[in-house]
Symmetry: C2
Subunit: 355 residues, 2 copies
C-alpha cells in the first residue's frame, strides 16, 4: 500500500490479514456534526459546498478529527454526473434534489453527452487531490459515484420519487431506450471514477440506492448489468497498487449471490440483511461492508455497543469485514453515539483477527 | 367449501387442485376506479367511507362488476384498531393517516385497551355481514388487519414515517415496553380477525407493511413473533370449513423460510422477490400470493400480458399460487390495464393446472 499510516480499510476490502475491523460511516461528513452545519451555512448551499474543493476538503476531514475512522470519503453528491450532462441540478430545502431539465423524450436521451471529468467535473477531482494532500497518508480516501440505474431514476423522475413511475414506465415500455441511457451512464460513471482514481482516490464505491425497487429480472438487466459494465471499465491498478471496489445496492439482500459475481472486491449490506447469512452466501468471493441499522444510533450508547458486538460476532473470524451503517447516518444523531459505535468496533473486533 | 360459485381462491390458498390461477388485487376497491372516486366524494372523507357499512359494501363490490376477480376484500383500513383503542385516527389530504393521541409514554402503553370488535369495531363486522349477503356466494370475501408491528409503527410515530425513528428508538431502548404493546396489539388483532371470520370473512390476510424496515433479528422478535401469536389465536375452523390465512411482509423476501414456518397457509410476495426462487425456498409449506410490480400497470397492455405470463411460468405447475400485485395498485392506473392483467391470468394460467 502507498505509504499509508493506517491501511486496514484497504486490506479488509481485499481480505488481507489485519489486527482489527476497520470502520467508516456513510455520510460521515454531514449534518449530524455541528462543525459541518457551520461550514454548510457559510457556503450558502449544499451545491456550493460540493463544488468548492477547499470547502469539500474541509468537511471531508471533519469527522476524522472527531472519530477514529479508518477511511475518509470524498464529500460530494451522486448527482454531479447528470448535472455535468446538462440536467441542471438544484436543491429545494426539505424536498431533496431536483433537475431543471429532466429526461422526457427520445431526443433527450440521444443528446446526453458523456462528460469529461477533468473538464465538467474538475471541481471533484480537484477536491480529491486536495483531500489526499491534506490527509497526509493518515487513512485512505474513498471516491464514489451513483450507479447508472440510480442516476437514471433521478434523471427521468426529475428528482426523488416514491414509486419511480416514470422511470419504470420507460423501462417497461421502451427497454431499448432505457438501455441506451444506462450505457451512456455506465461510460460516464466509469470515466468519472477513473478520474477520481487518477486524482488519488484509493478505493471507489458505487452506490445503487434505488436498485432495490426493481423486480429480480429487471434488477439484473437494468441495474446490475450496468454496475458490471462500470466495473469492467475501471482502472484499478495504479502502478501496481490495487484500488479496491465496493458495490452497494440498498434493498439488494435477496440478490447477493448475483451481486458478488460481477467483479467488485466488496459488497455493501443494508441493515435488513443478516451479515452472518450474507457471509455464508457470498463465500470467499467478496468482502462485506456494513451493516448497523442507522436508526440504532438513536439508542443509548450501551445498547449501541451491544448491537456492534452482535454484528462483529455475526461476521465472525478473519478479514473481509468493513464496519459501517446499513445506510447513511441521519442529521439529528448525537455525535457521542457515533463515538460509542466507533469505540466498540475498536475494542471488540480485535478478537476476531487473532492470527 | 360453503356453497361458493367460485372458490378457486380458497382452494389455491390450501393448495387444492383447481383449473386456473385465481387473481385479486391489493387495493382493488380504490381510487383508480372512477366509480370509487364518486362514492368517496359523496362520503366526504375516507373515514366516512370506512365507517359506513353500506358505502363500504358498495365500494367492496365495485371492482367485481368490472373485472373477473376471484375474491372480494373488505373495504377498510389497517388503522381501525388503533382508532378503536382511542388514538383518534384522522387523515390529512396528501399526507396520509395521523393520530391525535400517539403513544408517547409508558402510561400510554399501559392504558391501551383491547377493543371489543363487536362494540368499537361493529361498523366493520356489519360491513362484512352486508358484503357477504350482497356477494351471494359469487366469490369469497377476504377479511384483513394490520400486523401488530405495523400498527405499532403508526401508533408511536403518530402517522407515516420515512425512518421510523421513534418506533425503533423505543424498540432498541425499551424492548420490554415494545413487547408489552405488541402483545396487546396481537390480542386485539386476533380478536378483530376472529370477529370478521365470525361475521363471514372466508379468508383473512395480515398485512405487515413495515416489517421490512427491521434488521433480521428484530424482524423475528418484534414482527414475525407477533404475527405468529395472532395466527395461534385465530379460529380458522368454522363448522368444519377451513378459513385460510395469508401473511404478507413487504420487504420480507430475505426471510421467507422463517415466514413460511409460523402457521399461515399462504405468504404474500412483494414484486422484488422472484416467485420461482420463493417457491423453491418455501417448498410445500405455504401457498404464494403475488407478485407483479404495481408500476408495471403503467406499461402498455401487451407488455402487461407478457409480465403476467412470466410470473405464471415462474410459479409453474400446480395449485398454490394466487395472482396479485406485489403491493397495492396506485390511484392513477388506467382500469383498462387492470383488465389486461386479469384477462392474461385467465387466459394463460390454465396450462399450469392440467391434471
Amino acid at each position: 500500500m502507498t505509504n499509508l499510516i493506517n491501511d486496514i480499510f484497504l486490506k479488509a476490502l481485499l481480505k488481507q490479514p489485519i489486527d482489527r475491523t476497520p470502520i467508516w460511516m456513510m455520510r460521515q461528513a454531514g449534518r449530524y456534526l455541528p462543525e459541518y452545519r457551520q461550514i454548510r451555512e457559510q457556503a450558502g448551499s449544499f451545491l456550493n459546498l460540493c463544488t468548492n474543493p477547499e470547502l469539500a476538503c474541509e468537511v471531508t476531514l471533519q469527522p476524522l478529527a472527531r472519530f477514529d475512522f479508518d477511511a475518509a470519503i470524498l464529500f460530494s453528491d451522486i448527482l454531479t454526473i447528470p448535472d455535468a450532462m446538462g440536467l441542471g441540478l438544484y436543491f429545494v430545502e426539505g424536498e431533496g434534489p431536483k433537475f431543471k431539465h429532466p429526461i422526457k423524450t427520445v431526443a433527450d436521451i440521444k443528446a446526453l453527452p458523456i462528460p469529461d471529468p477533468e473538464i465538467e467535473l474538475k471541481y471533484v477531482t480537484d477536491a480529491v487531490r486536495l483531500i489526499r494532500k491534506n490527509l497526509q497518508g493518515r487513512v485512505p480516501l474513498i471516491g464514489f459515484a451513483g450507479s447508472p440505474w440510480t442516476l437514471a431514476t433521478y434523471m427521468v423522475e426529475g428528482g426523488s420519487s416514491k414509486t419511480f413511475q416514470k422511470t419504470k414506465a420507460l423501462m417497461y415500455n421502451e427497454p431499448k431506450l432505457m438501455h441506451q441511457m444506462l450505457d451512456k451512464l455506465a461510460q460516464s460513471v466509469a470515466s468519472y471514477l477513473n478520474a477520481q482514481i487518477a486524482a488519488g482516490a484509493q478505493a471507489v464505491m458505487l452506490f445503487d440506492t434505488w436498485g432495490g425497487i426493481l423486480a429480480t429480472e429487471e434488477y439484473k438487466q437494468f441495474s446490475l448489468a450496468y454496475a458490471q459494465q462500470v466495473r469492467s471499465l475501471l482502472n484499478t491498478d495504479i502502478d501496481g497498487t490495487k484500488v479496491p471496489t465496493i458495490f452497494f445496492t440498498k434493498g439488494g439482500g435477496q440478490w447477493l449471490e448475483s451481486i458478488s459475481n460481477v467483479g467488485f472486491d466488496a459488497v455493501g449490506l443494508d441493515w435488513q440483511t443478516d451479515i452472518a447469512i450474507a457471509r455464508e452466501r457470498v463465500g470467499n468471493k467478496v468482502a462485506l461492508q456494513g451493516n448497523l441499522d442507522p436508526i440504532a444510533l438513536y439508542a443509548q450508547p450501551d445498547i449501541i455497543v451491544e448491537k456492534v458486538k452482535t454484528i462483529l460476532a455475526k461476521y465472525g473470524y478473519g478479514s473481509g469485514h468493513v464496519f459501517n451503517l446499513g445506510h447513511g447516518i441521519l442529521p439529528d444523531v448525537n455525535p457521542e453515539h457515533v463515538k460509542a459505535m466507533v469505540g466498540a468496533v475498536h475494542k471488540y473486533s480485535a478478537q476476531y483477527h487473532l492470527t
